[in-house]
Symmetry: D2
Subunit: 323 residues, 4 copies
């Protein structure tokens, strides 16, 4: 393999640049030419493909976002779109691909490999962490720390005013971000898609605390919780407990940005190298991940279809710690 | 004067604790006993009054929020409430007061002094900065830096995805927070209550940028802008420019918390000392502030009724810098 | 077991307070009385032992340092000292102990258990991470992120001035802190006790880079590297490469402080609960740790005598990434 | 004036990039071509001069360091060097210059203008703040906040271990950085070049505190204090007070880097615009500064020769606050 391409796709995540850097440098190290494909599958179709070298990725390890940019592509969902993408790769004589992204990225990669046989190795880049085949995804640790930093600030004001704060963190399908935010943020209650929490439970818990003369509370809600979003939950609780002063904060896109943490830079660097070395060693349609400290390649199809379950013990921890 | 009381009132602001510390230490330094009144006027009425000393304020200079807590008091708005407050002060032999807060706090202080003659000196503690009688209020610099830090993170993701972000910052009546966020955050557009910005202007500016092949934008909106809040503005812009990908982030209460910046700790320390020394020198119903580097005492009535205007040049700067 | 004691010992580490909080809350949750012993073994001997409850540990999860303080005790190294310590525990009817610390702490705990049979369970609290029986120690992740943040800042100035920076990070016996700092900080060279790096190698690497027109470099040195400390290494390199502008920064004690990261708060909370539950379930002279996501109790004697080896692959990564 | 050049010189400071951005955008806004001169006077002599436009300065406002790089030039101290520099400017048809730097930069600019009549306007870019003609220099606020953040971390460990920390901050000739670090960092003692502090005073103050059962202390030392550097002071104090556990931390180059604070971005943006507009309006050999909120142009010769005195009241504040 003499030429490979690299791209990022889906929602951006801190550490994507650190991973791009590792991919480019590993390619250079192993004597392989490397091309950056801009805007994911969209740019692949359009031929936004540029030569990269060691210098191109200087001083980006600490940057949030992705220098290769990202986009969603409707065309790549069509056979015609994928054909154009393949032709662009052929035109540039690109023999293998490394992609950084999540579910959607790997679904596309899987079809593309099946149709055109271009070997692809992926790195898990998403703040959500809900991807089978790796203990942690690139960007997750940073997103959690960013959210936690915001929660620390909100607790200052909650304590000063005897308020109940309902803080919504990212996580459409999972509580991976919500859990460490709740435990690390000293929250009294956590609401995640994986565990049922009724409004009644929340109201009871707050009332019990209040009667024990506790006057400020933090409730962490994953955006995908079945009880509704933070505003909906807060409104219902406020109705049941009118003497409490309920406030809502939705952390939002802040969680996607920022300089990656040390753990994310390490993970991104390890997996970036592993993607290139995997490709050179013949891996074809897999995601590189770290499980229990070991490098593991998992077929894309498994990363897409299998679930990674959150440790149920963590929910119980919130109860013990808010005693 | 042998005994003084100190309290915080209204919305909390970073640096309030640094100011409390300075007040307590200055009192000790000048041989005056000092009492902490919890929860503002509410606690004054209820007699939540406790002796403080040098140790009580150890290791709080860096803490957000207020260790004396804050609250809004409806009772203090009534003559009966103020009578009870005065009786509590008499009971504790408190001869003078130092308060940290904003508009509402000083309005209450002004009435209280007029009715009972208890000398009060105030320190401006509010993140909004829209208080006549001081160049900066305690908490303002921290709030701006917190907001800016969030905007830096959002720009990472805006750049990666070619998006328009509408970011709402605090400021119900003024653009004091919005302006440095826009200039420091590299925003293309700023919308503040003090200057009229129509949706048409915003749409035009974005369209012009887009046509010059600029693909990501940041619009900073003070919560009190006359064009509506960030969600309303974004919805209208999205309708006019359907090809753009508009997103909204409301920074919210995060802006109130966090460790105060160096400037806020300095200001809080200076003004805390100035409040105590002013009280001891016979100041009676005034706010301590720093104007052009000099300590100035301004009657509460002026701080409440006069406007502090934002430098109009700053709005023009946003235009120059986003060229 | 009705009453237990908790103390911190040795160098402080971020997350110790989060761990103390978890220990106290877990004890309360399980209906056990809990006493805080101040200043480690020193305070145990002197009887600095105070009742704690759920409130005592409110709002400390985010604080650096240890509210129980720490100290080194020469007296506890003597049989007489340990006898006094035991008598103090008896006096307070303390039946079990939880300690947070490192090598020295566990050595003391081991002897104390052997002599007096007081069950002790320990949590690994040290920024160094070189402790057998757990993948990570409490404080390590925070220390690495603090160091990395400083390195990011230094790189700004290195790049602006074409300089070689020799940055010394903590790690008397190991490169656990140095390695992620080097990989995450984009360093060209890392020098750790576990791998031999001669001054000649460093000079060669810098000269090679320079000849490839690279003009700024970062060299990370663990304080315990066999080639000497950062100042010594820098002086020798400067002599060999007089045209380069070498600078030295010793990060020092900054690495010990600060709010713990999310990962450290999670780890501290998990292990704090595990210490209490282990003690209640009959564990006696062991350290609680997390290995590959699982809770593991390791006899103190093993944590003291066995080595935890750093992944040698990480050193190679530095070479690949600085290509 | 149709073409102007911009360069940075001397030690780098956070906010230099924000200032470069403002200079370039203001030039574009006013229809003037702008060239970046790399590595200060050194690059001017060598002709490292490149066209810049609005895009060149995208997304740099938050970056530490200087994208134009900086260097010290011995050649520019010679008439021959300055002649070459002038010829390069003529070759590129550059009619005016904007420089960002400190004392040394302005000394060079002053001579250059006198010899060749090239109009130059400067922006004060140095973390030291000891420059006549402006209340604050670009980079100062950031450096202070960076130092303060480190001091907050060190206090965590000081408190946990009953230690005396001697922390050296930048400031070869002044205490501008040391003073807010001491006040904001809750230090007991500050030692600056502008005020005499004998070792005896320090020893007395520590002993007095110790006898009042205070057990941890922070002493802030400006690097240029006449009593010696932090290591020398600590050694003498340790000898006089052998029962105390003295530690030294030298913050060093970390203080130069990092994302600029809001205040530094505002100042840099204001002054960058002012430099360009000043040049276009006929200013010739002056530094732009902000004094009491107003834009002021001060002849370089005054900025070099006049002193900016630190407010002596600030030193007294440290005493009051550490009571």
């Amino acid at each position: 393999m003499k030429k490979i391409g690299v791209f990022t796709s889906g929602g951006d995540a801190p550490g994507m640049n650190a991973c791009i850097r590792a991919i480019v440098r590993a390619a250079v190290y192993h004597g392989v030419e490397v091309y950056g494909i801009h805007r994911g599958y969209k740019g692949m179709i359009k031929g936004e493909i540029y030569k990269m070298d060691s210098h191109t990725v200087s001083n980006i390890i600490q940057k949030g976002g992705t220098i290769l940019r990202s986009a969603r592509s409707k065309e790549f969902l069509t056979p015609e779109g994928r054909k154009q993408a393949y032709e662009q790769l052929q035109k540039h004589e690109i023999e293998g691909l490394v992609c950084i992204g999540g579910d959607g990225t790997f679904t596309g990669a899987n079809i593309f490999f099946e149709e055109y046989g271009v070997p692809i190795v992926g790195a898990p880049g998403t703040i959500d962490n809900d991807l089978y085949g790796t203990d942690y995804t690139i960007g997750y640790d940073t997103a959690v720390n960013t959210a936690l930093d915001a929660i620390d600030k909100i607790r200052d004001t909650a304590d000063s005013h005897d308020r109940v704060f309902f803080i919504e963190v990212m996580g459409r399908d999972s509580g991976y971000i919500a859990i460490p935010c709740a435990i690390g943020g000293g929250a009294e209650i956590v609401m995640i898609p994986e565990a049922e929490t009724s409004i009644e439970n929340v109201v009871d818990a707050l009332r019990t605390g209040w009667n024990r003369s506790k006057t400020s509370f933090i409730v962490i809600i994953a955006e995908g919780d079945e009880a509704g979003n933070a505003s909906q939950v807060a409104a219902q609780v406020q109705e049941a407990l009118p003497h409490m002063d309920a406030r809502v904060t939705i952390l939002g896109h802040v969680q996607r940005g920022g300089a990656p943490t040390a753990a994310d830079r390490m993970l991104a660097s390890q997996l970036g190298i592993a993607c290139v070395e995997g490709l050179l060693e013949g891996q074809k349609c897999v995601m590189a991940g770290i499980i229990n400290g070991d490098l593991v390649y998992t077929p894309f199809i498994e990363t897409i279809t299998k679930d990674k379950l959150i440790n149920p013990h963590f929910v119980k921890m919130v109860n013990i710690l808010s005693v």
